[in-house]
Symmetry: C2
Subunit: 561 residues, 2 copies
């Protein structure tokens, strides 16, 4: 490709709202442009990288025995009603009506479409298992798009769905996909941590995110240093170690407390006790039923809302309670009781069992309760692990948990019978009986992976693409030697080397700057000075070393790189 | 691919609403399934064909110097408002609102998106010309979807847009694209007729459809037998030959006419004159302004509404007038005058100048006018060619026009300054002045081309895919010899031959039937009988000849086919 003909330009300036480093580089190097927030054009250079990622994913999925197909982008809304997902999905579903009044969802994921397709066929156990996937356009009506390609409103997801006779068979495919994903990320130059995750409304034990550790990421997780355990904060287990179990259990008392003692800091000051000594109540509201939930937890811990929802058997329904909600309970912030409120439900964290003689639980303006013991003075109907795991906590097998953060670039999970039951999708088993399909599902974000690669592969001068996904392998730069360079360009093309040829009439500094910015793995500079000696200068993007290579050895030199 | 693992099954039955032969085959062979009318799943076999077509189009577009990119699927509706296309496009635009209230169009074509992208850059004449294209998901809210993949509501269009400094430069790219399209269709096994067409609201001289002649097609066009002229019925020119110019011009008269004479048939019977002797009036209404248009034409001709609209400088605005519309004019069907009605506009066809002494024009219950001469007795403000060309008419260069019909598989056309002016998209010319981009646009329907190939390449037993787009090159069929066949299968894979391997436990007849249905170019049958002699049976799908090939010569034999 001649750069003089390339559509898009490099740019020194970056719009001020662009924060993420990879986003800046994609803008500056002319790989993408925003249409409106969360929706992007991929320009020719960006397209090449995107397509290479897609090709690698396709190769590995095919090798793993999965089969590519494609569903329509508009999903009949009735299908989403069959599974009751029109309201309960985490992302808001975009909907559209056609001129005849038919309702459609703009696909967010394609479980319903795939199950609808499969139930159009009469299949038997002989046809199982199979894994079908697509590179499907996905829409998520995010309230806030962020970080360029990290959280888009419109993107390509490789979404795969496997169909099985039973859970045993599913587990094999789950393992197959786990390995396949590892291979894909390896080829893309990414180290991933496989993190246990929550699969919300589905439940089930098999749900993992593939996370690339990065400060830019939204996924917070806890891991052990031996890498044997890694879990998203929403599912991370830890040992609730006893704090003061040697302390003698004292008698429950209501005591006076100065009116100025209102918050945790003041409590700690007044009683000269650490945070864990105090009871803490956090109040939520079910946004559909409006039921109030009070979570009681040890004062040094935070509530994890997803864990709390799981304890209550719900998914993405809780929101923080408002002043008005507290008023309905007959209380206000800071004065919520750990027992006794009417018209609400209480959940206790397991940490309540690790402390003897809590302070708090029945705080009024000038009194509070002390020597409160869970199980003796109060006990909630539900006691569960609803606490946020923190760096330094102890894992279930006694190791220190390390907090980390990263970008979720893929996920694999068990769907079980969830969709096939709701959509009545069955196969015929060996005994001629109808059975529901047992399903798994495997997602992979293309654009997000692209930007993650760039988060890892860049320096202060620009992009540094790994060979497997570089837009071009070679950046050929002519320093006012286009005539001779044209021939070198052609010889590279003839040798099947992907080459971007900077044939523009610009100063060397600008050309070198653009070359570093675009980040092809190898740069070749053609100047009069070296040509005199029958040589060109070759430099790898990730090295400072300049090598002089004879023209007639250039191709073989490049092939060896 | 092992057929035992292939997702999708062949089917003997076809839903009754499937009419088109290619649609039947795509259903039966398990290449596609309908989601809802006009929206299809492409199953693994169909995907392979679709992707091969896309690859060929991409290769040829890239070779022609065009550059692939991609736009978001959702277009900000403001862009469509800038060009006033929210109401005036021929297809109804689907629209959707996001949760923050922003309006989007589901892309029907992408002129606005591409122009919006280009104007984000400050480009100069040095950056021109360029041609940018995408394989974009397109949505058309058709009232009626028909013929499977012929008229879909959701499909992939390769849409390309070229940007130029001026019309001269555009013409070069137009020719470049014309050749590129010809190459693409040739590689796909399709003979196309390049048909002059109407480009509606744009106007301009350069607009051609690529049409594959077929009874299944919706495009009616006229051509000469030397293939030098081919034009869509909406733009087809013909010679308006004089009919009776040797006749003496007679005096205009109002005469009595029996009341039973009401329609053309009765007029011909009463006067014993041919159709051309009579004046005919056809009434339309502008569906936006409600203005009434009366088209006057020679009795043996029909009005072409698109030609009429062009004569009036409008696009897709006319509809047939209703009884009520005629009543407002103070008349009724059969009694419309060729002159004199108020609150309406008249357009005359050029054929009015080819006849002396028309009958008609002022018909009342018991009278009519005779010896009516255009130019003497009445003449409309606009006289233009608004007549439908018919088989046997004479072309402008004196040849006979032949009526034909076909499937429009692509089109190329001049956009001129239409979009760049409306969207204020400019480049800097040599003199440092801002100029509007001069544009062209080039469409190619992927699924429609696929089904057209199949319309051409099938027989009563099934599909007969050309090599370039066949889902697999070879269909390897094991007749209870899977163990040995597994080895042959592996040897074909190792030789990079795409092979579908029927390893299923079925009767030979079913396997042969499926093989003919799926239509891979070459079938190999492996049976005990031939294996004894170290041979397999090879048959091309488009031939009856069976060839016995030695196993150790199989690969080289196949490579030569």
């Amino acid at each position: 490709m001649r750069q003089s003909k390339l559509f898009s330009k490099t740019s020194k300036n970056v719009p001020r709202d662009i924060q993420l480093q990879s986003h800046k580089l994609l803008y500056q190097a002319g790989f993408i442009r925003e249409s409106v927030a969360g929706r992007y054009y991929f320009l020719p250079l960006g397209m090449r990288v995107r397509d290479k990622i897609i090709s690698i994913v396709k190769e590995e999925m095919d090798r793993a025995g999965a089969q590519e197909l494609i569903t329509p982008v508009l999903h009949p809304l009735e299908l989403w009603k069959e599974t009751n997902r029109t309201n309960t999905t985490g992302f808001e579903l975009m909907q559209v009506k056609d001129r005849r009044g038919a309702d459609f969802a703009l696909g967010g994921t394609a479980e319903e479409m795939m199950v609808d397709l499969v139930r159009k066929f009469q299949l038997s156990y002989k046809d199982l298992p199979f894994n079908i996937y697509q590179f499907g356009q996905k829409f998520r009506d995010e309230i806030r798009a962020r970080g360029g390609l990290l959280r888009m409103r419109e993107f390509i997801m490789k979404d795969a769905y496997s169909f099985h006779a039973d859970a045993e068979d599913f587990k094999k495919e789950y393992e197959n996909m786990r390995k396949t994903y590892k291979n894909i990320y390896k080829r893309l130059g990414l180290d991933t941590v496989i993190v246990e995750a929550d699969n919300g409304y589905i439940g089930g034990d098999y749900c993992h995110e593939f996370v690339v550790e990065s400060e830019a990421g939204e996924s917070r997780f806890l891991k052990t240093s031996d890498n044997k355990y890694a879990a998203h904060e929403d599912v991370a287990n830890f040992t609730h170690q006893d704090i003061n179990q040697d302390e003698e259990i004292k008698e429950f008392q209501i005591i006076d407390q100065p009116e100025w003692v209102q918050n945790m800091k003041q409590l700690m000051e007044h009683y000269n006790e650490p945070k864990w000594r105090f009871l803490k109540n956090v109040v939520y509201k079910n946004r559909v039923s409006e039921e109030i939930i009070i979570a009681t937890i040890r004062g040094d811990l935070e509530v994890n809302k997803v864990k709390l929802e799981r304890a209550l058997g719900m998914n993405e329904l809780l929101e923080d309670a408002s002043k008005e909600d507290l008023a309905k309970l007959g209380t206000k912030s800071g004065y919520v009781h750990s027992w006794g409120h009417k018209n609400c439900r209480y959940v206790g964290d397991e940490s309540l069992r690790t402390v003897r003689n809590f302070i708090g639980g029945q705080k009024e303006e000038t009194t509070d309760s002390i020597n409160v013991n869970y199980g003796r003075d109060f006990e909630h109907e539900i006691t569960a692990d609803i606490a946020m795991a923190q760096d330094g906590f102890v894992s279930k097998d006694g190791q220190k948990l390390i907090e980390s953060r990263g970008i979720e670039v893929g996920n694999i999970f068990q769907l079980g019978l969830h969709y096939s039951e709701k959509m009545n999708a069955k196969f015929i088993d060996q005994n001629g009986k109808e059975q529901y399909y047992y399903m798994g599902c495997y997602g992979f974000g293309i654009e997000r992976t692209l930007t993650t690669i760039l988060e890892k592969y860049h320096d202060e001068h620009g992009m540094m693409w790994p060979k497997a996904v570089a837009p071009f392998q070679v950046h050929l730069i002519s320093l006012k030697e286009n005539e001779k360079c044209d021939k070198i360009y052609q010889s590279l093309i003839d040798a099947n080397i992907e080459v971007l040829y900077d044939d523009r009439d610009l100063r060397p500094g600008e050309k070198f700057g653009d070359s570093d910015l675009i980040g092809c793995p190898v740069r070749i500079v053609v100047s009069a000075k070296t040509l005199e000696q029958g040589m060109v200068e070759v430099k790898k993007r990730d090295s400072e070393k300049l090598e002089m290579v004879k023209l007639d050895e250039l191709i073989s030199f490049l092939k060896k790189l």
